[in-house]
Symmetry: C3
Subunit: 211 residues, 3 copies
């Protein structure tokens, strides 16, 4: 059964943890935090989404607190940023690509894991999206900035597409490795399109209210 | 047994979700967020208190992630705000009334649900208050402002009164539909009195310290 | 078996709750919050770390929501700050000492409790650190400031030392009351040394980037 494919789940998780941890470290550097701050924000950004997912589906203790490979991935990413952050700034385009990759693997991997815990289809979709956006949300809240998911180009929407795709495939019985990687590609492409084309969700009408 | 009255619980939940989701959408509009931001903050404000409650009492997965009716209520409220927010601003008095109603049904409904999970009387009171104030807290933290519960007129206190009332009635064996709605009315009236009379909890003595 | 020594656990918890609740109350006073705000932030700072710990190890409902002694300790601390905060400001050195004591008992007590829930050794270490820094993190996020653990002198590191010590002793079979109090002393001394000597973790190289 695909959804118990632990190796696939692990690869999705490790890739996602690493790239999101890079983003956490970079935010910490921008905020002028020290080494501990960089590592903590890397850890929060990389593992926070998975911890939320596990709390919500009852996978206690969360793998983000128990799997040394994921923690190591986050700490390596944080250390890399600490040492090499000027290089990362110069290659911020690379970081955005990595971030889109993290969004993709976390949304799809989060929904797959939730399906394995038998929480219902709608919950599996929502949990996938929360896995994908949760780490960045916690990172931004701790760093004292309004979460990017609330103010940037389409971010939650591609995650929702990817999660819904695997959950739909699961319900219809055609979930396979092809579908999983197809869904990952879908999230990645839609997210990158939003970045490249500077697509944004519509804003409400402006008013003169200062309320 | 009243505390297993699922229909009553559902009505309390849906009303609370809807009115708190309105408040989340309005905060998002004020912050200049886009459609996704409005819907996310509506979702957080409407469902966040219930999600915290369910995590704390072990009701996994939380209904805020699994019940399509509650999610729909939050999304409808967010969409309404997105389309009609200038009208809502003009009727901000209505919003404050709705918010008091949400506080009332969440405090009472949260404690009722906790009693059904056999978590102890004190916990049932605390969980009710957290259900009532939690969504607004999460909304404000994500929106980058100090939570209203920390800085506005008496907000947590009426919730505490309502939760304590139903838990006390449960312990003494006279919990009934009358008591439930009486407790809801109590929270609502005390909260509206605080709003109308501009009642506030006392402040600490000011000092010259700039610490 | 030491890790089921409920009395020791209770003493560690109550001391930690009280001193962290003092810190929460002081932050609330500085932010100009009212009595409810002071008590809520005292409650969050004092009990938040333990609530996170219990959610992560599956100890539902968390003792921070169910144990009247811990809640009373937090409320007494908050009330003391409310009434006597000018005195506390004058003795801010005392507060820092108390805070180091709280860090020490929470890190060690958190890991001990996690060991009793059979969550794995690595998880027990991480959970201990989160118990120690979690309340202060939540306090600062609610108060609208970047958490101290991210920007102050070595704070998470001594907690990590203490948690790792008791978990190591547990694995090697020589965990005892002496080891527990030794680990508490270790955290306290390292933390106080960081405060007194103004030790900080290294910062990343500054760059001209304004990114």
């Amino acid at each position: 059964m695909l959804i118990h494919n632990a190796e696939l789940q692990l690869v999705l998780d490790l890739v996602g943890v690493f790239v999101f941890a890079l983003s956490g470290g970079l935010v910490a550097v921008r905020k002028g935090l020290d080494l501990v701050g960089v590592l903590v924000l890397s850890w929060v950004a990389g593992l926070g989404g998975g911890v939320l997912r596990d709390v919500f589906i009852g996978a206690i203790p969360p793998v983000g607190l128990s799997d040394w490979r994921q923690m190591l991935a986050a700490l390596v990413a944080g250390s890399l940023v600490f040492v090499m952050h000027p290089a990362f700034h110069r290659i911020s385009r690379v970081v955005r690509v990595l971030d889109a990759a993290g969004l993709a693997v976390f949304a799809v991997g989060g929904s797959l894991k939730a399906l394995g815990f038998d929480v219902g289809l709608l919950t599996a979709v929502i949990v996938g999206v929360l896995t994908a956006v949760g780490g960045g949300m916690l990172r931004d809240v701790l760093a004292g900035q309004v979460p990017e998911v609330l103010r940037r180009e389409l971010y939650a929407v591609p995650a929702l597409l990817g999660s819904a795709t695997v959950v739909f495939a699961f319900r219809e019985g055609f979930l396979s490795g092809y579908v999983v990687w197809g869904a990952v590609a879908l999230v990645f492409v839609v997210r990158m399109a939003a970045v490249v084309l500077d697509l944004n969700a519509p804003h409400p009408l402006r008013t003169g209210d200062s309320l």
